[in-house]
Amino acid sequence: MTDANVVGVGMTAFGVHGSTLPDLFAEAALPALDDAGATADDVDAFYLGNAMGGQIEGESHLAPTLASHIGLAGVPCQRYEDACATSSNAFKNAVRAVEAGQHDVVLVGGVERCSPETGKETDAMTRIFASAAHGAYERPTGLTFPGVFALLTKRHMHEYGTTPEQLAAVAVKNHRHGSLNPRAHFGSETTVDEVLSGPVVADPFRLHDCCPFSDGAAAAVVASADAAETLSGDPVRVAGVGHATDIVPIADKAHPSATQAARDAAGQAYEAAGVGPDDVDVVELHDCFTGAEVLATEALGLVEDGEGGPAAAAGRTSLGGEIPVNPSGGLKAKGHPIGATGVAQVVELTEQLRGDADSRQVEAADVGLAHNLGGDAATTIVSVLESVPRRDSDQRGEVAR
């Protein structure tokens, strides 16, 4: 088994785009290939994440269409869909294929358009997002995706005393981080008062507790250790990937607010990487709603159970705090084009571990963790990435020959 490495990354700004999915994806994929120093000929396979292109834009069979669009026709292509964890699932499978030696260099990407630019307004998009809930059992109750996390968060508030002000602190932090990220959907800061005075979406969540409907794309080139030596992109090592699926529907989960799939996936990823939560320097996690970040910081072992809210309010998870969470702004401020989100987390961690994250750089970031959740808290994929000492580029040129 060889190590898999991320050797190139690219992404569009997240926000509102009028491009078609192929054009939008090209804006992420071509820069990722360039960053890797890879040409189309170097790429052996394509792993695509797109969650809802069928429902939103009437598109299927997108992987071959996108491959042709960016010059990769010929290679085996596969599209993954696992709700909001869609492109992390593509990433996991790409990493596994490289680790097994089945492919040397693969392109992984995600793309989605969810903004009203697609012609789908809030009520239509809310229904489409609800397609990830249990169709016969959960959807008839009128449960929405904010509603799923609202149920988990309300229970967490009951169990641990988590407060609306602590939830708002998560939004304030992620907006502040997002204001440092030129690719973020929201570039402005917010305040606890502003969050707490917004309109309710699904109690306890108000508008600013929720991520926006975004368009965007993200891509990464994953290469074996040998192939990484022949490419010019600075590698980041994929140290471990965990993937677990909890029970659907949420009512049947043993302890819904524990988000067990995240605990299981994190345990797998930590074990594979040989690290623990204390070793992690920077985290990109699935904050589709403020409460989701509170639950995730606990499930990942970054803070004690019940301490997610107080930790956010105390700044422990801020840039400059003890464990910076979502320096990109997270889904909350960076945006959440569903199928692009998982790979966008990998893009951010790669830049952080390379030391290229500009004003949102986490100091001495050597171990990064991505947490991507799909469906009614049923699926989680956790990836641990590690920095690789920069090789002298002259020497490297010779190694490659």
């Binding site: 009520d123 809310t126 009951h158 309710v200 699904a202 049947d252």
Partner: protein, 126 residues
């Protein structure tokens, strides 16, 4: 399993269509696992906790307590907000339901009827 529930089963199994038909008849069906004792309020082909297929169809209690609840103010197409959705503890089972009124965690609620929606029937508690 009571013989009267047989009408909702096909090939010895509670299917989703049978579960829905019972709900529309005002009968709240669940399944009890013979192997791990998990009781689910959702129609399943096997136990979600342990994988066993040894499930008996059971009628769920109609009185329970609110495990969690949210007031939905932004609804999917076809639904009119606001409304309340909750997780309700019913004996050994936990059920996802529409709640007819605002409620707090721990409140007692009882089964009222099936609410009809564009996505099918859902149990309503209040």
């Amino acid at each position: 399993m009571s013989e009267s529930l047989d009408a909702y089963r096909s090939d010895g199994r509670l299917t989703t269509n049978g579960w829905r038909a019972a709900l529309e008849d005002g009968v709240l069906l669940g399944q009890a696992c013979a192997d791990c004792e998990h009781v689910t309020a959702a129609p399943k082909a096997a136990c979600a906790r342990c994988g066993s297929r040894d499930l008996s169809t059971v009628q769920l209690p109609e009185e329970g307590t609110v495990y969690s609840v949210s007031r939905i103010e932004v609804a999917p197409a076809g639904f009119d907000a606001p409304y309340h959705v909750g997780l309700v503890t019913l004996g050994d089972a936990r059920l996802t339901a529409r709640l007819s009124d605002a409620a707090e965690i721990g409140d007692s609620v009882s089964f009222q009827n099936a609410v009809t929606t564009p996505e099918g029937p859902a149990p309503r508690f209040g």
